[in-house]
């Protein structure tokens, strides 16, 4: 889609301004139903569009992403544009610097349509913990868009943005992409700079693209995977641009299936997986089955580590320097207490408490330390898996999108649905979700391809081959019809 739009811009079939106006109009119209955007930025979008048009008119070359209308999850810092993490505590917070990913895209005249909805501080799987209410699924607004990057998925799935950047700590890019029938990739930890991404769990967070197809994911990933000296954990993309390798023959590629990934998933999801396996067989790939017994530890390990880091990362929201501040307090401690009690939502407070608990003296060894040790075990078992296969194929989520209101009513049951996505974050591996069918109600099913560290090119190509052969993308009823 990006390449096509780029072509039309370059051939002057449509001006960037017209394209942008179409998207702004659609976003303003459809957001009432989708609740994908929490902030719209039409003025700056049009300003950028005009700049791009001038460049095209002057016969200058433009990059692939130049002039393409897009969005950012509202935890990616944007200088001068409010960045709320969809929390009351940051409702009026406007950053004074740009996140590195936005700096890169801005320098390429990306047209930012606005900032999109998310679970508060990226904590949730339905987008419903957002202070602004959840984003809706573009295939049926009676269902959630997923989370935490629900707003981006809703906007891209509903075509009120061409693409967007989300963040993925335990599945927050892949799960909503799966729910909304689109593509979402969580890159290798360190491939994309985290500078400016408002932290949830620093050792797990990673920014990645949410797009309508695999090629777009590759284009966006190639653009944002730069080494960044501002992020000590940054390494940047290793190797050539991934887009160049799309379409490479996958005959003989070993696709691994871990039996544990297929346990306890819904029948229709399993059936979609079986179909995908057949597609890969027909493409000449070799299917390898293996066991991954450490997978059963992944969920507790994830929740312990993520909550521990979150409890520390979110300590800074105290009402003193920026953001929401409670009224009617006795002294500074009372002010901080009231600010945090009323500024954070229930899910965020639950995770801060959990994280504080597992780090407390007396409990540290039993929880945090044990989780760290098990993290090492899981990392090792994935390393072993990549000795026998090139990529791992797994469901993205054991089911399809939840109905509105379902996730918040039972948090623990909702935590369990993260089982297929969290191992990738625990191990810092890249993972991509691709649509692979739909359930009886027409809600999309997603499958996930997991690669070894910095092997984005491999999973992108495997995903592209599947998409090319079996193409399960289904356009939603919303958005721009070009």
């Amino acid at each position: 889609m990006i390449a096509k739009l780029h072509d039309r811009l370059v051939k002057k079939e449509i001006s960037c301004k017209e394209l942008t106006q179409e998207y702004i109009a659609a976003a303003q119209r459809d957001n009432a139903e989708l609740n994908a955007y929490v902030t719209l930025t039409p003025e700056t979008a049009l300003e950028t569009a005009e700049k791009v048009d001038e460049k095209i008119a002057a016969g200058k070359e433009i990059s692939l992403l130049e002039g393409i209308p897009m969005t950012l999850k509202d935890n990616i810092s944007t200088d001068g544009i409010r960045t709320t993490c969809c929390s009351k505590i940051l409702e009026d917070y406007t950053p004074i610097y740009d996140a590195t990913v936005w700096k890169i895209l801005k320098s390429q005249n990306s047209v930012l349509l606005g900032k999109t909805n998310m679970d508060e501080f990226a904590m949730g799987s339905s987008c419903e913990t957002s202070y602004f209410g959840g984003a809706k699924n573009p295939h049926d607004t009676g269902y959630v868009a997923g989370g935490s990057s629900g707003g981006v998925a809703s906007a891209v799935g509903g075509n009120i943005a061409v693409y967007g950047l989300g963040s993925d700590t335990g599945g927050s890019i892949r799960q909503p992409a799966s729910f909304c029938g689109i593509v979402g990739m969580k890159p290798t930890y360190g491939a994309v700079s985290r500078f400016g991404l408002i932290a949830y769990a620093s050792s797990l967070d990673q920014i990645g693209p949410i797009t309508t197809n695999v090629e777009d994911a590759a284009i966006v990933y190639d653009a944002i995977s730069e080494y960044d000296s501002m992020d000590s954990t940054s390494q940047g993309r290793q190797g050539a641009p991934t887009r160049d390798t799309l379409g490479n023959d996958i005959r003989g590629m070993k696709i691994g299936i871990a039996r544990e990934y297929l346990e306890g998933i819904r029948d229709d999801v399993r059936a979609a997986m079986e179909e995908a396996i057949e597609v890969y067989k027909s493409l000449g790939a070799q299917i390898v089955y293996f066991d991954l017994p450490s997978l059963k530890y992944a969920l507790p390990v994830y929740y312990i580590i993520a909550c521990a880091e979150a409890s520390s990362n979110l300590g800074r929201y105290d009402g003193i320097r920026y953001g929401y501040k409670a009224d009617n307090y006795r002294d500074v401690n009372d002010m901080i207490k009231k600010t945090r009690s009323t500024g954070f939502g229930e899910e965020v407070k639950r995770r801060i408490l959990l994280g504080t608990y597992v780090l407390s003296s007396g409990y540290y060894d039993a929880y945090y330390k044990k989780a760290q040790n098990l993290r090492g075990t899981i990392v090792q078992s994935f390393r072993n898996a990549f000795e026998v296969c090139d990529v791992i194929l797994a469901p993205t989520v054991p089911m399809t999108a939840f109905e509105n209101g379902h996730a918040v009513s039972d948090p623990v049951e909702t935590y369990l649905t993260d089982i297929c996505t969290v191992p990738v974050n625990i191990c810092g591996l890249p993972g991509i979700s691709v649509p692979c069918g739909s359930d009886s109600k027409g809600m999309p099913i997603g499958m996930q391809l997991i690669g070894n560290s910095f092997c984005e090119a491999k999973i992108l190509n495997a995903a592209w081959q599947y998409e090319n052969a079996a193409g399960k993308f289904k356009a939603a009823v919303f958005g721009v019809k070009l």
Partner: protein
């Protein structure tokens, strides 16, 4: 019963790097509030720390200068606590893998104070209370610190004082900190307990926080020692607690008890990667270390033949030692320079901080020139001394103050003539001398010195005068 004092030190030293530990803001002291800040050091959402390599180097310097082992692999941890001067609600510090461990500093009584560890961390901002409001200044937030932790090896207040002075002197020598206690670039926490003399078991300790002067440290320790002894004598118990020292009332008071102690929930900072310290880097730093005060002092006494007391005074501050070493270059007796510096030049630098700066009006080169004039016999000691006073006053060179005619010794004939005049013009002194008042000769020597403008050799003049009196004509 007699009680023994047992104490340990935790000293925070601000490192003199140009920029902060995790961002590129200046570390300069003072400045308008919140002007030495950026999104990183005020912990704005989404920012990430980036470790300043210089900080690691400086900490290693400090470690090597205090005989520590340097870790090959180290890491940064988060110390979580909530306070308005701490913008991230955690301090990035080091918990279980400090950069330096197992060092010591030797005291003059021969005892070694063991250093348990030296780790790096960031400083917090500062609360300013004004007109009923509390304001926060984050200029100091993110300034690099090292924390130097000793074992409970101190047995007296004097040992503690000497340790702090030595530590200060070492850190200044190796250039890692100015250690200005009054500006807070060096601050001490002291753990104190007492126990019956001869007992091996440690008593319950209290911790006195954040002291910024050696005098206060000594006073606070003395007070706290007395307080704990009194408690034990009257059959009460010492409670483990954190204390603050009030220098006005010279007492300590409780800040918080053991039960209110923070649970810092330390864990590794996921934003920072492992610190690998290559052995080559450690070797390079080791080679770049200057001669330390202790080594210098030994060299001054053993090789230069200076008295212990002189060597101590000259090595306390690096600038003085450097000055002294420049002043004695190519001269005959180091003691002469030592005497000039300690006897005359020290009079112009009264305070400790002036001594540390040692910004004196006579340059080391000019002093060296003066000493060389003396060495060559061109001028005598008296003239040299008075010239040095004039040099200190005017900042001029020796050569500008001593005229050509003053240079060189007095020839034999001229000296004889002056001595003759001295005897002739002082009949009273002559008769006194002959009457047995030997001191009377000094007046005549004084005459010779005065009229030769200090060029005469006083001892020789005295001999000649006595000979003339005894053998007139």
């Amino acid at each position: 019963m007699k009680y023994e004092l047992v104490a340990g030190f935790e000293t925070h030293v601000e490192l003199a790097t140009n920029t902060k530990i995790f961002c590129s803001c200046t570390t300069q002291f003072g400045g308008e509030p919140n002007t030495h800040c950026c999104p990183i050091c005020i912990g704005l959402p989404g920012t990430l720390p980036k470790l300043n390599k210089r900080v690691v180097e400086y900490a290693i310097r400090a470690g090597l200068a205090t005989n520590c082992e340097i870790a090959e692999i180290s890491k940064m941890d988060r110390k979580n606590y909530c306070y308005p001067d701490l913008p991230k609600a955690y301090q990035i510090s080091q918990y279980d893998k400090p950069l330096c461990e197992h060092g010591y500093i030797q005291l003059s009584n021969g005892r070694k104070i063991r250093i348990l560890r030296i780790h790096i961390e960031e400083d917090a901002g500062k609360l300013v209370h004004r007109r009923g409001d509390t304001l926060v200044d984050y200029n100091r937030g993110g300034v690099p610190l090292i924390e130097i932790v000793t074992e409970p090896d101190f047995r007296s207040v004097d040992e503690a004082k000497e340790y702090v002075e030595k530590l200060q002197s070492i850190m200044r020598y190796i250039g890692v900190s100015d250690c200005k206690m009054q500006e807070g670039s060096m601050r001490c926490d002291v753990n104190i307990s007492v126990r019956p003399e001869g007992s091996e078991k440690l008593g319950t300790r209290t911790e006195i926080k954040n002291m910024n002067s050696i005098t206060f440290i000594a006073k606070a320790m003395e007070y706290e020692y007395g307080r704990q002894v009194d408690l034990l004598e009257s059959g009460e118990k010492v409670i483990q607690e954190t204390l603050r020292y009030d220098d006005v009332s010279n007492t300590t008071s409780s800040m918080r008890g053991k039960e209110d102690a923070n649970d810092y929930r330390y864990f590794r900072d996921p934003d920072l990667v492992t610190i690998n310290v290559p052995r080559k880097m450690v070797e390079e730093i080791k080679e770049s270390l200057p001669e330390l005060p202790e080594q210098k002092k030994e060299r001054y006494t053993d090789e230069l033949g200076l008295p212990e007391a002189d060597a101590l005074l000259l090595t306390k501050y690096r600038r003085i030692a450097e000055y002294f070493e420049k002043a004695i270059e190519g001269t005959k007796t180091p003691k002469t320079a030592a005497n000039f510096i300690i006897g005359q030049i020290f009079r112009t630098v009264e305070t400790e901080s002036e001594k540390e700066q040692f910004d004196v009006s006579v340059s080391a080169e000019n002093l060296n020139e003066l000493i060389k004039l003396l060495d060559s016999g061109k001028i005598r000691m008296n003239l040299a001394k008075s010239t040095l006073d004039k040099m200190l006053e005017t900042g001029k060179k020796a050569a500008e103050l001593i005229s050509e005619s003053d240079m060189g010794g007095l020839d034999e004939g001229a000296l004889d003539e002056l001595c003759r005049q001295a005897v002739e013009n002082n009949p009273k002194a002559v008769s006194d001398y002959l009457a047995g008042k030997e001191k009377a000769v000094k007046a005549m020597v004084g005459f010779v010195m005065k009229n030769s403008r200090g060029k005469a050799d006083a001892a020789l003049a005295e001999q000649k005068i006595i000979a003339m009196i005894k053998n007139p004509g």
